[in-house]
């Protein structure tokens, strides 16, 4: 004969769930369903009383059962102690929805050697890691604020607190008839100054003050129009 897993033909369907009613392991709706049934069923009320008694007797009996020998406990604790010694990364993040860990301290009966080992292990256990990470973030933020271009409301222009743009250097050959005052006037109008020269062919290197690159072409074009002062002007090779 095999296990009769069909629902017992005699008896009520609620009777089959009475033990879970006794142990409080039913949902609210199931519990209500049974309570409604019990109001009108004397047979199930009697079975309930019987189950309550049986449940109590069985719990007492199971509580009286012996456990394994102390060897099992000692073996397990020894193994986790040796596992802990090689598993410092175990204190990582908990899985989703987990409750936070309980505060842990040295066992009171750890012994001097055990406490020494724990003390030596402490620097390896990254309990300070969150604080260090926070400090690093703050320092990085401060550096970024200092270095990253800062938007300043100056009529729509963007200025930076970073490295200054490189000045534009031009190669200019002045007309031999040009006077010093004419040259000064031209340089002044360009916002330029002579930084090198004369090289072969009488070329000077002049440096324009940093400005919007889009105006560079206009300045060179305007300078070339002054043929009375300049023979030629071009962007100097780097």
């Amino acid at each position: 004969m095999t296990a009769p897993d069909e629902t017992p033909s005699s008896g009520h369907s609620q009777a089959a769930s009475l033990i879970w009613y006794v142990t409080g392991a039913l949902s609210v709706s199931e519990r209500r369903d049974i309570e409604r049934h019990l109001e009108s069923c004397a047979e199930c009320r009697s079975e309930l009383q019987s189950l309550i008694a049986l449940h109590g007797d069985m719990r007492n009996a199971y509580d009286a059962e012996a456990g394994p020998s102390a060897r099992a406990r000692l073996t397990v604790l020894e193994r986790i102690k040796s596992a802990s010694a090689t598993d410092v990364g175990r204190t990582g993040a908990l899985p989703r929805g987990r409750t936070p860990p309980l505060p842990e301290s040295l066992p009171r009966n750890a012994g001097l050697f055990g406490r020494l080992v724990e003390w030596l292990r402490a620097p390896l256990v990254p309990r300070w890691a969150p604080v260090a990470a926070l400090m690093l973030i703050v320092i990085q933020a401060a550096v970024l604020v200092r270095v990253i271009p800062e938007r300043v409301n100056t009529g729509g222009e963007v200025t930076t607190r970073g490295l200054a743009p490189a000045p534009t250097r031009l190669r200019a050959v002045f007309n031999s008839q040009a006077t010093e005052s004419q040259i000064r006037e031209l340089l002044s109008s360009l916002g330029a100054r002579i930084v090198d020269g004369p090289a072969s062919g009488g070329a000077y290197v002049i440096e324009l003050a940093p400005g919007d690159p889009k105006y560079l072409g206009e300045k060179i074009h305007a300078a070339r129009a002054r043929s009375d002062i300049l023979q030629s002007i071009d962007v100097a090779p780097p």
Binding site: A3, W20, T23, G67, P68, V76, L77, R90, P95
Partner: protein
């Protein structure tokens, strides 16, 4: 943290602390489950030494797998599930198991556990109850322990044993009937 201070801490918190490397929390969890796991395992495994090995393997699996607990069941269901798996595995390896007996022969089982109880005072109701339980088939012993002692919901038991919900209910029904019969035979106080 002294394990004595954690007696009221829920299983779930102890397991979370264990997952974070809390050996004290694990010790509390171990103390809470050691005897329960051992006696549950004895449902399948005859030899006490082998049952102890299964307890050790189970609790090491709890220690190593605490971080993988997904809260889809109770902690007790999870731990007993590990124990069941390891016990059945040990049984397969050693071939020393309690064969599931047909229900109509359950009363005839000459369980060695019963012999071990012979010296126990027959007036002790708890021991008589254990004697009656020991006469049940392993399937019935298991399901009564899970329902009456571990107080697992029938859905959890169904998941643990890989059987339908209704099978859990009917198996409990028949196990209870068998148990009452054995109690009457061995002279324990009648339970209704």
């Amino acid at each position: 943290v002294d394990p004595a201070d954690q007696q009221e801490v829920p299983d779930l918190e102890l397991l979370a602390a264990t997952a974070a490397g809390g050996s004290t929390a694990f010790e509390t969890l171990y103390a809470r489950y050691e005897r329960r796991v051992y006696n549950y395992v004895c449902t399948f495994v005859r030899q006490p030494a082998l049952a102890e090995e299964v307890v050790i393997d189970t609790m090491m699996a709890v220690w190593n797998g605490a971080r993988g607990f997904t809260q889809t069941s109770r902690v007790s269901t999870w731990i007993l599930g590990i124990a069941r798996h390891k016990a059945l595995d040990a049984v397969r390896k050693t071939k020393t198991h309690l064969d599931a007996a047909p229900l109509d022969q359950a009363a005839e089982i000459a369980d060695t556990a019963e012999a071990a109880l012979d010296s126990i005072d027959r007036n002790c109701q708890a021991q008589l109850m254990l004697r009656a339980i020991a006469r049940l088939s392993p399937d019935h012993q298991e399901i009564l322990r899970l329902a009456f002692y571990e107080e697992l919901p029938y859905e959890d038991i169904a998941a643990l044993l890989s059987i339908p919900d209704n099978t859990v209910k009917t198996r409990v029904f028949y196990a209870k009937q068998q148990l009452r019969g054995h109690l009457a035979k061995i002279g324990a106080e009648p339970v209704s």
